[in-house]
């Protein structure tokens, strides 16, 4: 049995009561996945990312969603939010709190949405991320039976963030999950949606998520992907946004955890005034591998995009950045800016970065660039002359490098969390965690 067959066997063992249209989708996904199989490094889009650790793995489907409030508190954000909790891909109702949603907003586990309102969900689900996008979206389509469906009626502004926590447990048998997130933002609606991939130490599971966001005219969606999976986790994500006139999609793609992580981020700017901002941070240690592939399609005139990705790479970690901006013929007077800056803390860390502009219009403002460097030694010296040792000086400057992306993060709980994580994960050499905590305490005092 080859790898795709082994994965699909789990599917055959499971679903029997799907509605017919869902069953048809699954079959299409499974057929596609069986035909293409896992990508290899011969595929251009996977040139630097070897997924054999996924293909060779043996992943069951989680049997339950058991988790305690204590275990959740240990890995989730303390956030005043509408919360939906998935444990190894299965919905946990007790830990979720979706009772106080304002009028015009619904946040539903995918399983319930499929049962109660399948025609509407069926119309949108898979519209942006079909089975052809990648082997992983095909695999997700075959398996996805749980996730989050967020719907915003026109003009609705959601008071608090919608916080989807996706927990990966430390299981005896490694599991896989294929969550699906669907965000439908009606005209002039506004919401912040957080996907938080949190894990327990020792977890070694495979998460394969697909997110689709549909933004009608004037809608604003702030989308956070905060990936803090355990160091053994395998994580593949595909995020797709489709934007109407004057809409705005702000994407924050923050990767701190996982052993093998791949994120595809695709936005289609389909009408005038649509605007996308991509902010990314990845901080890698050990042998972590994180690959970000981003794509902005300027399909209409007077659309705007701005992208800033920063990577900090230590030890023998490997980062990949591939950012593409595509400007369609006749998409005049667009503006597109893209930048990727990386900081290498070790001689053995590696970054492969490729910013790309493909332009078929002639009246555009575009820029792109990539830099990779080391810390500013003059700044290290200046800090040392104040009595700060060289290691901590480098830590402060590393934190500062990350800070340039994090200052775009308007949710202080996330900004502080990431700052602490970056500071705290450099303990041996940099020892900054205490400093950040006390400085925050001072600020609040």
């Amino acid at each position: 049995m080859n790898a795709p067959e082994r994965f699909l066997e789990r599917l055959n063992a499971r679903r029997e009561d799907d509605p017919s249209w869902v069953a048809a989708r699954r079959q299409a996904g499974a057929a596609r996945f069986a035909a293409v199989g896992f990508p290899t490094r011969r595929d251009e889009a996977w040139k630097y990312t070897d997924v054999r650790s996924i293909a060779d793995g043996d992943f069951a489907l989680a049997a339950d969603a058991e988790f305690s409030p204590e275990r959740l508190a240990a890995c989730a954000l303390e956030l005043d939010a509408h919360r939906l909790v998935l444990v190894d891909g299965r919905f946990n109702a007790e830990l979720s709190s979706l009772d106080a949603l304002p009028a015009g907003v619904s946040v539903t586990p995918l399983s319930q949405a499929l049962e109660s309102n399948h025609e509407q969900v069926g119309g949108s689900l898979g519209r942006l991320a079909g089975v052809d996008f990648s082997a992983f979206t095909a695999l997700n389509t075959a398996f996805a039976d749980e996730g989050a469906v967020v719907r915003l009626a026109p003009g609705t502004v959601v008071d608090k963030p919608i916080y989807v926590v996706l927990v990966s447990r430390a299981n005896a048998q490694a599991v896989m999950s294929h969550p699906r997130v669907l965000i439908e933002a009606g005209a002039r609606s506004e919401a912040t949606v957080i996907e938080h991939y949190a894990g327990e130490d020792g977890a070694a599971n495979f998460t394969n998520v697909v997110t689709e966001a549909l933004l009608e005219r004037g809608a604003i969606v702030n989308h956070y992907k905060l990936q803090e999976a355990a160091s053994g986790d395998l994580h593949v994500a595909s995020i797709h946004a489709d934007q109407g006139r004057d809409s705005r999609f702000n994407s924050f793609n923050l990767n701190l955890g996982g052993s093998l992580v791949r994120t595809d981020l695709v936005t289609d700017l389909n009408a005038e005034g649509a605007e996308a901002a991509y902010y990314g941070l990845f901080f890698l240690q050990g042998r972590q591998h994180v690959d970000n592939h981003t794509l902005v399609n300027h399909n209409a005139p007077r659309t705007f995009s701005n992208e800033s990705y920063k990577g900090i790479l230590d030890d023998r970690s490997h980062g990949v950045f591939n950012g593409k901006v595509y400007v369609k013929k006749d998409a005049q007077q667009i503006e597109a800016y893209q930048n990727n800056a990386n900081l290498l803390l070790s001689d053995r860390a590696e970054i492969d970065t490729k910013p790309e502009l493909v332009i078929y219009a002639d009246d555009v403002k575009c820029s792109h660039g990539a830099t990779t460097g080391q810390l500013d030694e003059d700044a290290v010296y200046a800090l040392r002359t104040r009595g700060i040792d060289a290691a901590m000086a480098r830590g402060l400057l590393t934190l500062a490098f990350a800070g340039e992306v994090m200052e775009q993060v308007k949710l202080s709980e996330i900004a502080e969390r990431v700052e602490r994580a970056v500071a705290g994960r450099l303990p041996e050499r940099f020892n900054l965690a205490d400093l950040v905590e006390t400085a925050e305490a001072v600020q609040e005092a």
Partner: protein, 250 residues
């Protein structure tokens, strides 16, 4: 407190200091003056430990310790602090982090524990007010986007928080208008005490109207060629440096 003996320093094989001697006692304020290129900034940079300066001969002792054997940060923790002529901008590193980390490093070196947060906040608020700096500066990145005067005040703020035994101030007056200079001078003067010393490196006499020195040294071509009290500074202001040079050669 500070004893510099027969110091010879080369930069990229060029001799800059050629046998400099200087002794500073606790409680004293010394001013080192001299023409451009005499080696004034080299002296303070060597004492602080900047890379690229090779000491070929001589010694620097600080409270009996061999400074040249100490790491840059050890010198600062021992109480030897340099205020820069051109304070460097450090994007993303908040002032509050620098102050907190620096203060705790010095306290740790003295065997004291970390400063409690409320006490620290009280201290930095107080010192910021003395330097007429809004506390919003504490949350800003070190010197980033600061005006020339704000950068200098920030240097002195660090001195006031860290309370060095020997503060070396390199051209602290350059680029300051008269009001900013008064604020900076007031800050420096508040550092004066019987067990601390200050070393001012300056090209112009005007700073010394605001920070009165006990001793004035003239540094020419890598050596101190004349020393005196504050009246020497006034004489230099009216007569220039040439006569000192002629006198020393004669």
């Amino acid at each position: 407190m500070l004893e510099v003996k027969d110091l010879h320093v080369t930069v990229e094989d060029k001799a800059i200091l050629k046998g400099l001697n200087l002794t500073v006692q606790p409680g004293e304020v010394h001013a080192i003056m001299g023409p451009n290129g005499a080696g004034k900034s080299t002296l303070s940079a060597v004492i602080a430990g900047k890379d690229g300066y090779e000491v070929t001969q001589g010694s620097i002792l600080f409270e009996g310790q061999d400074v040249l054997e100490m790491e840059i940060e050890e010198r600062a923790r021992a109480g030897l602090l340099l205020g820069f002529q051109y304070p460097i901008e450090i994007p993303g590193v908040k002032n509050i982090y620098l102050l907190k980390a620096a203060l705790n490093a010095a306290r740790e070196a003295r065997g004291e524990g970390e400063i409690p947060a409320p006490e620290f906040m009280k201290l930095v608020r107080e010192k910021s007010a003395e330097m007429q700096m809004d506390t919003s500066f504490l949350q800003r990145a070190v010197n980033e986007g600061f005006s020339g005067g704000e950068k200098k005040r920030n240097e002195i703020l660090q001195m006031l928080v860290l309370q060095p035994k020997l503060a070396m101030l390199d051209e602290i007056d350059s680029g300051l208008d008269i009001d900013a200079m008064k604020v900076v001078a007031k800050g420096v003067n508040s550092l004066r005490s019987a067990d601390r010393a200050i070393l001012l490196v300056t090209h112009y006499q005007r700073l010394l109207n605001h920070i009165e020195p006990d001793r004035v040294h003239v540094l020419v071509d890598g050596r101190i060629v004349k020393s005196g009290d504050k009246s020497l500074a006034l004489e230099l202001e009216s007569r220039g440096y040439d006569w000192v040079l002629e006198e020393s050669v004669a």
